[in-house]
């Protein structure tokens, strides 16, 4: 790996494109799996924190405070090296995702709890008065409104999680940062390599945050996201238009 030319780019990047592509996919994989897991766990913890039972609320609060106040790196080390020393051996991927999930679930649960409590109490009553059961009330009345309130914070966390996957370099998770370290040790061009790696992270995160902002605006504007609701509104539009013509 001798430099072919002088100038800012001396690493033979074309040789590394396939490896970088694999690493990028790995980063995306970590992000998608961990975010999905964190969102589900975060929602469960948020619901537990809103439970009528004090004991349940306390358990959920302890969870949130614990993982909010411990560094992510410490969680990664405990799940990968710590558990392994006790005979619980997780693969790098399992340990990486588990760490990200438990850490981000704590933050997301705070965002979700605030959002759910932020839905006006009259909404619950109106749904109950219409004969909607507990699950239907949550699914069709509380959750969609809480989602709107939670979107901004949740989106920030999604981008933050993507960036935090870079900490998995410490357990050689084969994602972008780990690949950057490999290329650096082969080329000794640390500045160039890590600038390129940083640029790739930016190229992932910036469109992601913009896309999430766009989604947030669409949802706030009440644009139907599910095909079912889209069809329902289209049918309503047709029927109401007929009405306008005859009225």
């Amino acid at each position: 790996m001798t430099p072919i030319a002088s100038g800012p780019f001396q690493v033979p990047w074309s040789d590394y494109v396939p490896a970088l592509w694999q690493a990028l996919l790995k980063t995306v994989e970590y992000t998608v799996v961990s975010f999905a897991g964190a969102a589900v766990l975060g929602l469960i913890v948020a619901l537990l924190r809103l439970s009528r039972l004090r004991a349940v609320r306390i358990v959920a609060a302890v969870y949130t405070e614990l993982f909010k106040n411990v560094p992510l790196l410490a969680i990664i080390f405990v799940t990968y090296f710590g558990l392994a020393s006790e005979g619980i051996v997780l693969s790098v991927f399992q340990a990486g995702c588990l760490s990200l999930i438990v850490f981000y679930a704590a933050y997301l649960s705070e965002i979700f709890r605030a959002a759910i409590s932020g839905v006006h109490a009259g909404q619950q009553e109106a749904a109950e008065a219409l004969g909607l059961g507990k699950i239907a009330t949550f699914a069709h009345v509380i959750f969609p409104q809480a989602l709107r309130l939670a979107l901004a914070g949740t989106n920030t966390m999604a981008v933050d999680l993507l960036k935090s996957t870079s900490l998995l370099v410490t357990i050689s998770a084969a994602e972008l940062m780990s690949e950057g370290r490999l290329i650096t040790s082969a080329t000794f061009r640390a500045l160039e390599v890590y600038l390129v790696i940083a640029a790739i992270y930016f190229a992932l995160c910036y469109p992601l945050s913009q896309a999430l902002l766009w989604l947030e605006r669409r949802i706030r504007a009440g644009v139907p996201l599910s095909p079912r609701r889209h069809r329902r509104l289209a049918a309503a539009r047709r029927l109401l238009a007929e009405d306008g013509a005859t009225a």
Binding site: G122, A127, A129, L130, G131, V141, A236, L239, D243
Partner: protein, 272 residues
Amino acid sequence: MTPTTIPQPTATQALPAADDAVVSIRHLSKSFDGRTVLDDIHLTVRRRKIVAIIGQSGGGKTTLMRCVNLLERPDAGTIDVAGERTCADGKITCRDLARLRQSVGMVFQRFNLFPHLTAVENVMLAQVRAGTPEKEALARAVALLRRVGLAHRGLAFPDQMSGGEQQRVAIARALALKPTVLLFDEPTSSLDPESTGEVLRVMRELAEDGMTMILVTHEVSFARDVADWVVFIDGGKIVEEGLPADVLGRPVQQRTRAFLAAYGGPRGEDGG
């Protein structure tokens, strides 16, 4: 509209039980944190009749109404809705709470429309959840919006509508499940006079169509016009009840007179 009994406006008088009673309340009591809100209430609402409940804020009228669809659980007494005992002595005996609430529509003071849904979806939601086919639910929702004069606003979201429009959508939503009785909890209290007029017009049409209604209101003149029976509640007790012309025009009780003096005053022959 003619009463079958000559009203005797005494303190806790109950109407005689009747076969056409849609709601029948006996010995109902309710307290919050040791404070008695309702004290031994008797009330019968018959089919196609409109009962107006008037009284000071905090006097228990809203709580009484919320007991009918069990949004509040009474501490004592019984309630029968459409022939089924829904609660007795502090226990809910209603086997199917969802069905009870489908048969008792409710309109709130603050509308409580679902802000993430359009007007037509607000009217459709409960129908679809109750198993009505999509197409049928939509057709009914559009028909109901037309009935409250809002077919042209069907795709508007609540925050794009005036208070009067929102409340009319809320009435359409409450009618969607073909309830046997409608509850109105101060439906015009958060509206400006113009919106109040719109909403009262819709309610008057419902009354003319023979809808059974319980109405908690401060609109004394509206109660006089549409109600078949007026109940004045104060301090958790029924102080006086009877025909609108009597309770609102010739109140017997001092407390009723004081209330009416503050909220519009009796306009009978001996009014003023």
